[in-house]
Each structure stands twice: as C-alpha cells, then as structure tokens.
Point group: C2
C-alpha cells in the first residue's frame, strides 16, 4: 500500500534507524536479509501471512526469527498495524484516524482493535503518547512494551489489548515492580479456549488458564477490564484524574434515581464505599442550597437544581474528611443546563483535591455536555455504575501499589532426593501417574503430615499397630481381588480401643471368608482416622506461567462450588495470605456459625511445603491433595489423599 | 409552571376528560375537590410536596387519596413528570426533549430518569408509544401500566424504571400472563436498602428483598436490566428486532479480536451459544469470500474485508439451520467504509429472517455509521458483549414465554387446626418465637417427617424407647440447669443396640452427677439419628410479595456460600422445579462425584408441604428447617431442626 518495492533503493542513504516492511509476504525475507546486511537493528513488519496462516507461515516466521536473532535485530510484528509516537511525530501505520497527543500509551495485539482505540481516543479526548500494534509478537511482546513504557516520560497510563501472553514467566519477570510506576489496564480476550489444557486433577480444570491470568494480573497489580467499555473508562480515569488517596464516595445528583444506582454500585464494590458526610458538611449544604431534597449522601439537588448549587456542594464535600472522590450525576431535565454545569465543573476541577467522575445520563443532549467536560480534561462515564467503577479502579490501583511484598520463607526441608527416587521409579516404569502411596511418599519427604498407616496379619498385630498409630483408626481388608471393600463389610471405621481393634480384625476376616472365600488376602491395613474441615490444595504447572497453587473447599464441594483461589509460584507472603483468606474455605476454617476455629497454622505450613515441592521438582506436572483434613485449633492438618502426574521436558 | 390558577375558570366548558394539576402544593386539594364536584375522573398531579416530604406530606396525600376513592377518580402522581402519547399527540410533561414516535412504552417512577429516557430515545432512534411518569404512585402504579400497555396497539415492548413495587401481590396478579403478550424490561434500583428488614432466620437475611424481586421478575418473565445501558439495549432489541426463534449465534467481523470477545460472551451466556456452521455454509463462504481468514464461526473477514463480503456472508449463514441470530462486528479500519456497510445492512435487513445485532466499536467514526443503521431500524450496541446480551435477551424472553404453567398439586393435609393451637398458645404467652418443639409440632401436623424422639427416666426405659424409635439413636441429658450438654459428656451419639442404650443412660447420668451434682434432672431425651445431605428450606413472608420459599445448601454452608434460591407462593410446578434444580444443593443431591443420588422425591414432598403451611397459616412470619437431612434414595428426608416466628396483622 505505502512502502517501497525494495530496500536497495535507499541503500546508499546511510544507516537506517527504523525500517518498516510492508511488501508482499514472499518479499519479506529478502528485504530482511538486506536490512540485516546494512546493519539496521529495528524493523516493523506490517506484512501478514506468517504464523497466523498455519504451518507454511510458521516456517517463514521461524526463518525471520533466525535472521533477527543472528543479527541482533528487534522486530515488531509481523502481521501488525505499526506504531505511532504522537510526541515525536512518527507514524508507521496506515490509519487516517490519528489519536490526539496525550499521556495514555496504547498497545494492541490486533490492528483492528487498535483502530477502535484510535477512534475512541479522538472522541473521548483522551490523548495518546505511543501506540503499538504487536501483531504476531515474534519478538517484541507486551512485556517489552510495559518495560519500555514504564520509563517513558510521555506516558502516565498503559492500556493493552491482548489475546494471550506468550512468555508468561518472562512477562511476570519484566512487569514485576513496573506496575508500581504506572497503572496498567489490560483487556484480555479468549476466555473460551481456557478448557483446552488436558488435566486429570479436579483443580486442573478449575484453574483454567483464564483464572490463572486473573491470578497473574492480580499479582502484578494490573487492572483487568471486563470489556472494551471498561478498558476505555479505566484508561480515561487514570489519564485524567488525580489518584484517589482515600475511600469515601460522595454523590451529587439532580436525579434521585441516578443517585440510588450509584449508591447500589458502591455497596457492591470491593474497593470503595459511600462516604458518610460530617454533620458540619450537611449543615453547610442546607444553608447554601436550601432546596436540596437530601443533604445525606447521595445528595439529591432535585430536578430544579441550579448550576451554582452543584459547584457549592462540590466545594463543601471535597473539604469533608470522609470524602475521597466525588461523582456528579445529572439527567437532562429542562430546568437544568448541563452545558453550563459542564463548564463550571471544568473551571473548578483544579481547585478540588480529589478525583471527580461525571455521568450525564441520556443521549445527544447529555453527550454534548459530556463532550465539553472531556475537552476540559474531566472524565465522563455513560452510567452511574461505570463512574463508580472508575473511581473504584483508582482506589484499587492505589491500595495494591502500596501493598508491600515480604519474601515468603519456605521450610528448610530437603525432600528432593526422596522425591527424585519416586519420580525416577515412575519414569522407569513408563508411567506418568503416581499411585496414592507414591504421592504420599513425596508429601512425607517434605514434612507434610499423612495419616500414619500400616499392615497387620493377625488380630494381635492389628491391635498393637492400632495402639502405636493412635486411636481412632480405620481398618480395611487388603486384597488385590477385592475392589469394593465396603460392599463385603471389609472396612470398619471408628475403632477406638485395643479390644475393638482385635474384634474388628476378626470380623473383617470372617466377613471376607464368607463373601470371597477364594480371594488372596494380604492382611488388613490400619490407618489413623483423621477428621476436620476438608480443603483442597493443588499444584499445577501452567504452560504460560509455570507452577500455580490452588486452594479452596475440598471434598465433594470442590467441583460443585468451584470455589478455588490461585496464586503463581513464587509468591510473596502477602500473596499467599490473600490466596488463603479470599476463599470461602477460609471463612469456614475461621469458625463460622459458632464452629470452633480450625488449625489454620498447620494448613498454612502444608501450603508452604507444597510451594517448596513446586520449586524443587520441575518434573511434577500436577500434585493434588484432596482433601487436607484441617483439624481443630492446634490439632494439626493431614493430607488424606494424593494424586500426582509427571511431565518431562523432552515430551 | 404551566397550568391555570384554578379549575373554576373552565368550569362551564363541559366535562373535563383529563385534568393536569400543576399548582402550588397547598392548592392541590382544593382543585381536586372542584374536579371531583365537576365529575372529572382522570387527573395527573405534577405538583410535589406529598408523601416524599415526610409526615405532613403523607397526611396531605392521604387526603388526596380519599377524595379520589370517594369520587372514583384515577390519579397519576403526585410528584410526577406527566405523560406523553406520541400517537395521539397528548403531552402533559414540561419537557422540551420529546421522544420520536414508535413502539416502545416507557414508564419511570422518577421524572429525571424519564428525561434521560427521552434523550436516549431521540439519539437511539428507538421510538416511543407512550411515556408515563408515575411519581409517588398514590393510585396508578407499574401494575396498572403493564395491564394497560399490554393491550395497547401502539406498544410492542414495555420499559420500566422503578425504585420499588408498592403492592407486590397486586403486581403479580396484574402482570401474570401479560408478559406473554409483550416483553417487559425493568430497571429496578435500590438494592442497598435490602437489608432493612428484620429477620431472625438465616435465610431471612439471604432472601433479602432484592433477591425476592429477582424471583418475582423471573416468575413473570420480566427481564431485569442491570443498569441504564442494559435497559436501553434491551428496549432497542425488542423494539427493532424480530424474535430469535432458535439458538445459534453467528458472528461476522473485520476484527478477529472483536470476534473473540463476542465468542467469550456467548460461552458465558445462559441462553445462547455460538452456532456451529454447516460444512455447506463454510464451503460457500470460502467460495464467495476467498479472503476470509476464518470460515469457522466467528467468521473473520480480516481488516481488508469488503462491504459486499459482509452481505454475502450474512445471506449464506442466515440460511444455515444452526443459526438463530447474527452479530456483525466491525472496527473503523481505513480499508473498510463502515457507513456503506451500515447502508447495505439497512437495505438487506428485511430479507433476513433472523435478528441482526451490530456493534461498530470505536468513537465518532463508528458512531456515525451506527447512527445510519439505527435510522434504518437496525439495533446497534456499544460492545460485542452487549450485542450478545441483546440477542440472548430475545432468546430468554422467547423460551420463558413458551414455559407452560402446570398448577402445583399440594398434599391434602389439614394441619391447620393443630398449627392454630400452637400459634394461639404462643400468642397467649405473649411470645412471637416458637420453641423447636412447637415448630416441629407444626411440621408434623403437615406430615413433614421429624426424627422420632422421647424421654426416659431409667436405663431400662431408655433402651426400650430407643428400640421403639429404631437404632441408631442420640441420647442427651435433659436439665434446665445444663446449657452445655456436650461439655460435661451429657450427649452420646451413634447408639446402636439395646445394651449400648442401657450403658449410655448410665454413663450420662454418672457424668452429670460428677460434673453438676446439684442440677435438676428431667431424664434423658432419645432421638433417632438421621443422616444425609443437609439442605435448608424456609418460608418467609415478604412485606411486598407475601410468602416466599427459599431452598439451598444447609448446615454450616448456608451463610458462607449464600447459595439460596427463592420462589414466591403460589407457584407452578415448573417454578418449583426450577427453584430446586437451579441450586448447587440439587447437584449434590443428584449424585456428584460418584456419591449415590439422594432421596429427592421425599425432599420435594417436604417442600410441597411447606408451601401448604405457607398458604394455610398467615400468622407464620418465618419458618425455617435447617437442616433437612436428605437420605439416600428411598431413604426419606427428615426435618431435624425448626425455627419459627409469628407476626399478627394487628401489629
């Protein structure tokens, strides 16, 4: 479209800082070779027809990649839309819709979504510093852009559209800490493909890659937008507003109904609440605006509110200690001139030390007034709920930014040698699944308590063993021929004494003789009976982000309630606590409805050891303990069942 | 504002069909009296200053109400914005922003939200048939409007903004059946005030009035919008689209990213799924549009899609059996002219027999093209997700419209006399709370199984009684002086035989003698031990909507998981089934993770009897069974605990 047929025509013009390739696919490799020979280090490849086209394209792209890495070249694309720097004036895109200059850096995997961003930017008056279309991300990816943009002086907020992070571990490494400098908003689509990963554990399916993305974004204080509208709303508010230093939303409206909607949204929100105005503020409002229908928050100035009233009230409440942000809501009633309200808000906004979000609800009349506000750098939102979410995002980012990261101290336990023995043995057998017993050996080697057990061949031996293990115990017939032990009465639970153990052994044997006289009997197994609240804990190695720990309610509830929280390894002490406390399982363990609190400390110790296992043993693909029985306080926790599979790098 | 000073000036002009009162508050009553004397039957009172202003205003409003009912007058307002009928040309509002003529009836409790609706209607080009501002709803309320509008020939869809239904039972009575005629969209705000009702039961708080509103709206097939945007989206789609007769969403886009977002939204949606195109359709697409990057749904025509391509593909897929609705998504890329796509879509829309929803994602360029579409009566949406939700709402309404209502057959059981005895006794005691025993007497009188129990004074008697009740049993010390029976060893569970019962009696007595030698002993209670899955079932009498039945997971999970489903009494057989099957409790009972299925039939029988209790006994304010133990299949279900409170009409 634009572009020249071959780079040779400029060959003698000196060194090329940045080349843009936009030639037919077949010509890209030859041009790249010429650029390499000329010493050009930075190339943007607009041309499509690579990885996205299947096997042939993938081969071509690999060839490109080799040329680039052999010659230390950095590539944006291929299959991209180019870049724009509004401050220096560079524009390599083929778009006629250029965004205005500003402080928001936009980054889009998709060129078309990039075009949507430009169009939005022009209408919303949120100016752009840099725009980058990443395309196939053969080299430069989201992580590179975040690293770069977080030190870019022209950029205050980074907005990203992505369909998937290709190098998850690299992404975490690059971004960690960067998000403290600048807010990052991401719209990540492609939730549907989450279920594609094969997983044999229960949490494997639950910890689908999309919920792992959520865990990663939370870890990095990246705000994930739920749709395009929210992405644009959040970019607007971070681009235009000051930070929201404290909680407390005050609402001013000429329409009681809109105030109720915003109050509802505050009560549903995780990060902000409705401010309780001081008596002094309310008195001042009644004095200055006698017509106000409600001086309580939400402040309802009624349909006949005057322009001045809104400004008076903003000044009063922005001085109130309980108020951290203001939302102004208005309906286009005839008695009020939204345009002049917009102009007044525009003029006072610098005098107000807290963020202001505005929603004029309606159609073109409301929109005209909103446009005036935006031209003055005041963010506007289509609905009361979206205005609340925008301020809530300011707060969310601010709170998490100050969230300190204490390194997690893992128990000093060297289970690796024993675990490696188990793994080697399984591998030598040609298996990838571990038996329960093998799984438990790994857990034990890391000091995770498993209920003691043993085998007995006589009533006497059974009773002795039970005594050694400690009552109560469970006794089960051991036989390769008997698959449904319970059906033939081959399991007795709750054995509480030496005598009961003697009796139980005889009873089991007698029942077995009657039911299956020909079965080969290996004795009985005796296991300590443990009780407590069932939770599930698992490790799964995500293809993008590496080891992920999942935690939640266990037993039969895990699949039905799908109440699982994830965190990526390694994690800080605060992340671990957040993973645990954000679950309903934690509420149960803390002593819900008069239940005594459970032994959370011993359960947390098991999680720490699980993290150590994850760090030590790259061959373990999945390891799930379902359930852990968390006993009463100081009663300990036990890993009752273990499920594990391996994956080797050479596969 | 407008209005005349007194109605006497037109006194001689003949009968007045409709009077609009818009005079100072103090003059409203005198004018009403004059109108009454003149025989005017229909009055709109714009004037405010009534119920909404506190006690004095409430008194004034009661006076108004009396004049109206004494003279058979129907009143809209007071404190309202008036009405508009675009077809006859009546307009009693004081708005200069008038909506265009069309088929959507709008109804708003708040005048200001009404102004927002007008402004939206003008921009969105969704025309209005009637507009009514209801204000204080002294007489005419939402139910009246729905009754009227459902037979109004100019109206095809009804959109309502409400802050609360005042006569809930009347609302259900009026609306039932009407929603089959026309779709009703409601935006109901005021969720926050839900917690205001005093309730001593667990579900009392959970079944907050907002979740009861949800149950009522579901019952009546009223679509509840989550915010203003969704209300407008749904009104648009019902106003402009044909019904969506079958599932299957096909997506056509020039931007892969937008297609992914829409596909994600389909996979999250309860009512629609992504269509699987036939091989024939895909072949045709490849033939006709060779550049298409993906002929699988979502169909990606790439950034350089031509205007014609979109139309060709729409024609192909709208003939595909698997497709029930089409979504067209586009980004404003330079290579595509959105305006001409809009014009083509506009021109083909009548040839296509399935609904089309369009999202042009961006800012003013996208908006300009969207405006062309809207002027041609094609609904447009701001995001891919909102386009999906719009079609999903068409489908939701259509499916529920065909949902037949089989009357529920309740067991013929006359527990009322016995229940009334209990109630009278409690009332005579000056109590409102029933003891567990009194609650269980009510349950038993309606044939709800409670575990048999009795009291024994000797080991022998205890053993006899236990045998009669049936093992296993639980034995507990009975003493008004001992509050923590478990702490002194006064409870023994799992007693399985005559001998164990003898022993248990002696043990309990001996322990009590040691721990509390001076306690007054009334013997021991013996109760059948029942086991199974714990569920909760409750009846609460909602102030607006009358008796509501709630059902969900029981025991310690009820408060933590808050997993409760509600239905309003009376209900159809289908509503009862939906209430039961929509819960996670039902999934557990159906045999999750290899557990055997539970005795759902016996549990359902208990629910039927609970509904009978609700219908028979208006004095019962709350009755909660927590838990019901649902046994294994054919094992029966048992009401283990009962909590009940009364409320009398004269309070």
């Amino acid at each position: 479209m634009c572009g020249i047929e071959s780079i040779t025509s400029v060959e003698k013009a000196g060194t090329i800082d940045l080349a843009v390739i936009s030639v037919p696919t077949a010509n890209v490799i030859p041009e790249m070779k010429k650029l390499a020979a000329m010493g050009t280090k930075h190339v943007i490849i607009i041309t499509a027809g690579f990885k996205e086209e299947g096997a042939d394209g993938r081969r071509l792209e690999n060839e490109l990649k080799k040329i680039a890495s052999d010659n230390n070249m950095r590539i944006i694309g291929p299959n991209c839309f180019g870049i724009i720097d509004t401050h220096s004036g560079i524009n390599t895109t083929f778009s006629s819709l250029l965004p205005p200059r500003g402080n928001a850096a936009l980054c889009s995997q998709s060129g078309a979504v990039g075009a949507t961003m430009f169009d939005w930017s022009r209408s919303s008056r949120v100016g752009v510093s840099k725009f980058v279309s990443l395309g196939n991300k053969m080299d430069v990816c989201e992580a590179d852009m975040i690293s770069y943009l977080s030190t870019d002086e022209d950029t205050e907020v980074i907005g990203i559209y992505s369909e998937g992070i290709s190098d998850g571990r690299g992404f975490i490494r690059s971004v960690q800490g960067m998000e403290k400098k600048k807010p990052i908003i991401i719209l990540k689509s492609g939730r549907t493909s989450a279920g594609s990963r094969a997983a044999s554990s229960h949490t494997g399916a639950l910890a689908g890659s999309d919920s792992i993305y959520n865990a990663v974004f939370r870890k990095l204080n990246i705000l994930r937008a739920k749709d395009i509208d929210e992405m644009f709303d959040l970019i607007s508010v971070f681009s235009l507003s000051r930070p929201m230093e404290k909680d407390g939303i005050a609402i001013i409206t000429n329409a009681g109904g809109l105030g109720v909607m915003a109050a509802d949204a505050c009560s549903d929100d995780d990060w902000v609440t409705l401010a309780e105005l001081s008596r002094r503020s309310m008195e001042k409002i009644s004095e200055e605006v006698p017509s106000a229908a409600s001086v309580h928050n939400p402040i309802d100035l009624r349909g006949d509110a005057k322009n001045d009233d809104v400004i008076k009230v903003i000044k009063i409440i922005s001085a109130d200690e309980a108020v951290g942000g203001v939302i102004v809501l208005a309906s286009p009633l005839d008695m009020i001139d939204l345009n002049s309200i917009a102009e007044s808000l525009y003029s006072v906004k610098n005098d107000i030390r807290i963020p202001i979000a505005v929603c004029f609800a309606g159609g073109s009349v409301a929109e005209e007034a909103a446009a005036i506000l935006r031209s003055g750098g005041v963010p506007t939102f289509a609905t009361p709920e979206r205005a609340v979410r925008a301020l809530s995002a300011l707060r969310e980012y601010g709170i998490n930014k100050d969230f300190s990261g204490t390194p997690l101290v893992l128990p000093e336990v060297s289970g690796r040698p024993e675990t490696l023995k188990v793994i080697t043995n399984v591998k030598n057998d040609g298996r990838i699944s571990l038996s329960e017993e093998e799984g438990k050996r790994i857990l034990s080697s890391y000091g995770i308590p498993v209920p003691p057990e043993g085998t007995a061949d006589s009533a006497h031996e059974a009773a002795e063993l039970a005594e050694k293990i400690g009552f109560p115990v469970v006794m089960k017939i051991l036989s390769p021929d008997i698959h449904h032990k319970t059906d033939i009465g081959g399991v007795i639970v709750g054995i509480k004494s030496h005598d009961e153990a003697m009796d139980a052994y005889e009873t089991i044997m007698a029942r077995t003789m009657v039911a299956m006289p020909d079965a080969k009997i290996d004795g009985v197994s005796i296991q300590k009976m443990v009780s407590g609240q069932e939770v599930i804990l698992s490790l799964i190695r995500d293809e993008q982000f590496g080891p992920v720990i999942s935690f939640g309610l266990g037993g039969i509830y895990v699949e039905i309630l799908r109440e699982i929280s994830n965190a990526v390894v390694p994690m800080t002490s605060e992340e671990l606590d957040r993973m645990i406390t954000s679950t309903k399982a934690f509420r149960l363990l803390s002593g819900a409805r008069g239940k005594p609190p459970a032994d959370i400390a011993s359960m947390k110790d098991i999680i720490l050891r699980m993290i150590k296992i994850a760090e030590d043993n790259p061959e373990l693909y999945e390891l799930e303990i379902n359930p852990i029985m968390v006993g009463k306080i100081r009663g300990g926790s036990w890993a009752v069942d273990a499920l594990a599979t391996l994956r080797f790098d050479d596969e």
